[in-house]
Symmetry: C2
Subunit: 430 residues, 2 copies
Amino acid sequence: MKNIINIAVVGLGQVGIYLLNELNTKKKDIELKTGKKINVVAVSAKNIKKKRQFKVNNKIFFKNPLEIFNKKKVDILFEAIGLADGISKKVVETALKKKIHVITPNKALISKHGNYLAKIAELNNVNLEFEASVAGGIPILRTIKEGLATNKISKVYGILNGTTNYILSEMESSNQSFKDVLKKAQKLGYAEPGNPKFDLNGFDAFAKVRILSALAFNSKISKHKCLMEGIEKIELKDIKIANQLDLRIKLLGISELKNNQLFETVHPCLVSKKSYIGNVTGVMNAVITEGKPVGESILQGEGAGPGPTSSALLSDLLSILRGNIKNPLGVSVSKLKLLKNYNINNYVNSLYLRFEVKDKPGVLSQITNRLAKYKISVKRLIQTPDKKNNKATIIIITHKTSELNCSNCLSIFKSNKNILKPPALIRLLG
Amino acid sequence: MKNIINIAVVGLGQVGIYLLNELNTKKKDIELKTGKKINVVAVSAKNIKKKRQFKVNNKIFFKNPLEIFNKKKVDILFEAIGLADGISKKVVETALKKKIHVITPNKALISKHGNYLAKIAELNNVNLEFEASVAGGIPILRTIKEGLATNKISKVYGILNGTTNYILSEMESSNQSFKDVLKKAQKLGYAEPGNPKFDLNGFDAFAKVRILSALAFNSKISKHKCLMEGIEKIELKDIKIANQLDLRIKLLGISELKNNQLFETVHPCLVSKKSYIGNVTGVMNAVITEGKPVGESILQGEGAGPGPTSSALLSDLLSILRGNIKNPLGVSVSKLKLLKNYNINNYVNSLYLRFEVKDKPGVLSQITNRLAKYKISVKRLIQTPDKKNNKATIIIITHKTSELNCSNCLSIFKSNKNILKPPALIRLLG
């Protein structure tokens, strides 16, 4: 590798602009650690005039990022646009084919096209690095690929989305509804102002699960259909009841090998308040891996925001500058396993069920009879009357049962005149 | 690098023998991930006949490890003898000079001779890797050198010794004395049966602090005199009182930049039971780094034992096999800073003091007057009488004061006929 390295930054949103500033201020440190001088030769964004935190040098500005390839000699390109397809894919693809190393925090792109892009990178003997795509500042991908390499990992799970973790924590501590806390999160920049959907419905965490699976199990990034639930239906009521039961609700991403089949999921979980994961609050992320011989490892850190994201992007940069060329997915794509999908129907959990019912005789027995018919045994039952409205809330914690059995059992309650709405269901961890 | 890599393992204790077995069973996985075939061509230990968990191939056995260099062509050598000097140093030094990569879990060697050995490795363009020397299976060194590279780290601290953490946890949960729990730890293999001194007195944790400092602050491994206290003086009484105060005692290793001066220490700390670090129990280790822009990062995992140690040793092996040649201390030794030492006298903390006194009038005021004279203000005071023995225990939690002021203040209590023994002192974290 030459001693002066030309860099392009495509996408000047919050992350891109913060990164640009870091690249400028950390030049000397980077040279000390790698012996290479970096030089930003091109930046690109839709709008040069948009108000940004740091100044952009107009002389190296490109409206169309693809132009950069014609006009500049680039060694390393940062893609920070963030689309799953379109111009993001085009820019990354073109760069790799032109033997330009690529670094990106784009989880949507990698989880969708990672296998294909990794292959192109390998063919052209350049790096495709995406540490920042999962869990922000936590170097979890590097840890799995390198620090825990040769461990037989059986499970990776954790809190992978800072927005939802903030909302759930804040609902508990401020006693405010989902809607109100979401507004607050948007004001504080923890949730996207326009369309926070992909954070809230679990999609963002799910993309990260896909990437973690591939690295942990040396398998192709999967395209299987999976269980994905967000936090949109979590009510303050559930959070309060969980609190009384010494539990807390967390949105978890889970990837696991079950009988050598891949099981990936994102859904809210009830976890013990005394557990480690139950105490990861606010915008923090945490990833737990179970491997042999290392045992359980935990990594925790800030999961989002331009600072932590830039930290991860620069770690990728240093890896490349130090000459650490390697397969983007740890193992050559051609040698990655193609894992079969674990049948979601067989996923087994204890369940928290909340029924809102009319307060009249026989309703409780209707519910318990139905559960008994499906052999779902009750671990705990709490009925709280709401006399004023002639209603009652029934909370049931069940022993373990499968997804299929549970959905067959509960289907009947969708249309029952004594049960005022379909029961709320939250799975318990473990 | 060639495609077939010859390996030597020197030292066949618990770690060496476990490693040897891992090297044999993980051959295919290693080839998949690196494209290299490994081949163990030499092993060495004092006694070939010692009973070991796994069989040793007699044909490649060397009683004198230095013989290996004459008889075999070795590419990578594992040093697992564990001495700070002597044959450990000789073997590592010789290997590096012969352009053989070295991997070692030997914190005593690296903390004492790391600067010198890293220089030899750099001169000969080979790796000297020691991930396993700090916090067992937790890839904390790689994380600091790579995952958090370019972050400005201001502090690294944590629970760095599994033996002492197990003892403190077990004293609390089993209500047994230090001596009894130590015996249990020795039986379970958590503490060395012969001489557990270096775990108990903080020396082991301190060696790890030295290594962490160098990597976190890009400085030479220091030789400064520092504050080092172990857990030998912790009594069950202190653990019980801490418990009542919602605190827990942990042996922490701390490395910090204070006014650009290096402060390294190991001592027992009182931490909140509700804090993260207060809930890392048993043989677990945890390391917390504070950096910009990444924020606070936490890594937790099993800190000792042959499994986690082998995990770290193999991660080093994979790094070398993937061709990631780099400076052992992150930055070339010649460019590492030489940090000035922070004056221990200025170290400031709130203190827990326990006085065992004669139960007679005036004793309490003697103590409080003395504290007042040194402007050490009292945050909390609890006096518990022991009428039967005509004694009393006085617990004082102070506001913050410096080491110097504190030791000047307390010196008088070493010879006071009403104070039955020198007061127990434990610092509070933060």
